[in-house]
């Protein structure tokens, strides 16, 4: 294998600092005029792929990174997110334009990504472990299954030891677990993998010169978005009810009995 061709899929989500509101029709979360940004877990994956390239300088055996491609499927504004990814260090971007009304589900995204991987001839896919909007956490695993590649989920450390071997450390209950595998593979990132760099103004300006291909689902031979789930209703969690103060132990026991806890 000559070099790494890394594919990094990113998603445009409502910014983590914004409190989501349910829309009037109770069919989803209000997205109009809400600040959006890149899914934080995807920032980690961009950062990691850029670090793999930079690490080249002091790991003689690590394979060189040929290319880092940032990918996103979504509304036209998703290209801002791809630009951010390119400002952080991705070499070029692919944007599959999908309307908001027929947004893809994890399986749809995985099927699309499979086609992209085949077309781009990628041998490493680094994804965020989940997106902070749907919190599905399925795309990476489904993609690995469809491609029949090895997968390492929730990576907290990634090291490429020689030309084809990748070691991934995962945080598990009460310790860490190390996975070793051959390329090609799918990696999903966990929160403590690295510290994503800030996409500064000069870098965003420079990223505007990088190539961003605009495609449609049909370009990848996918006719329909294949939505299988139907959202019945979305509503806010019930507000927390206030507590009561009790005078003494007897009062507390009385209250507990009243609530049926005793």
């Amino acid at each position: 294998m000559s070099g790494l061709r890394i594919l990094v899929p990113v998603k445009r989500v409502i910014d983590y600092a914004v409190k989501p509101r349910v829309n009037r029709a109770q069919t989803g979360v209000e997205t109009a005029n809400v600040k959006h940004s890149m899914n934080p877990f995807d920032e980690l994956s961009i950062e990691e792929s850029v670090r793999i390239r930079e690490k080249k300088a002091h790991h003689a055996h690590a394979p060189p990174v040929e290319e880092i491609v940032a990918f996103s499927a979504g509304v036209p504004k998703s290209q801002d997110i791809i630009r951010t990814a390119m400002a952080m260090g991705a070499d070029r971007g692919i944007h599959v334009v999908v309307d908001e009304k027929d947004a893809l589900e994890p399986l749809g995204v995985a099927k699309l990504l499979k086609k992209v991987v085949e077309q781009e001839n990628s041998n490493l896919v680094i994804l965020g472990k989940q997106a902070i909007d749907d919190d599905a956490g399925q795309t990476g695993q489904m993609l690995a299954g469809l491609l029949n590649w090895a997968q390492a989920t929730q990576a907290s450390k990634v090291s490429i030891t020689d030309q084809t071997t990748v070691e991934v450390v995962q945080e598990v209950d009460g310790g860490v677990q190390t996975i070793r595998s051959k390329l090609p593979m799918v990696i999903t990132t966990d929160l403590r993998l690295n510290e994503p760099r800030y996409a500064s103004l000069p870098n965003i300006m420079k990223a505007k010169k990088k190539v961003l291909d605009k495609k449609s689902l049909a370009d990848y031979g996918i006719e329909e978005s294949g939505v299988r789930l139907k959202t019945v209703k979305v509503c806010e969690p019930p507000p927390r009810k206030g507590g009561v103060k009790v005078e003494d132990v007897d009062g507390m026991i009385g209250k507990l009995k009243e609530l049926g806890a005793l």
């Binding site: 600092a17 934080p40 510290e195 800030y198």
Partner: protein
């Protein structure tokens, strides 16, 4: 302004713009950030000495790094609270 070095002047303007751009996502809001940033730069406008101006630029670079770290930490902590801590 008369004696100032055009290269330094350019540097100062650029870092001011960089900081303004970063201020867009400042937790207390862009207006809060912008007025304060403006005041901080305006308070140093009398500087004529090149060494002093360079010092000022260095301080601005330092502030830039601090803001980057602030944004990172704020996001990391929020996400840790949402996804990492067993509730």
């Amino acid at each position: 302004m008369s004696s100032s070095n055009p290269a330094l002047r350019h540097q100062v303007i650029r870092i001011y713009k960089d900081l303004l751009f970063m201020g867009r996502q400042y937790p207390q809001g862009y207006d809060y950030f912008r007025t304060r940033l403006h005041k901080a730069f305006a308070s140093q406008r009398h500087l004529e000495d090149e060494a002093k101006i360079k010092e000022g630029i260095e301080r601005a670079e330092y502030v830039k790094k601090e803001i980057e770290a602030l944004y990172y930490l704020k996001r990391y902590r929020t996400l840790r609270q949402r996804y990492d801590k067993p509730s």
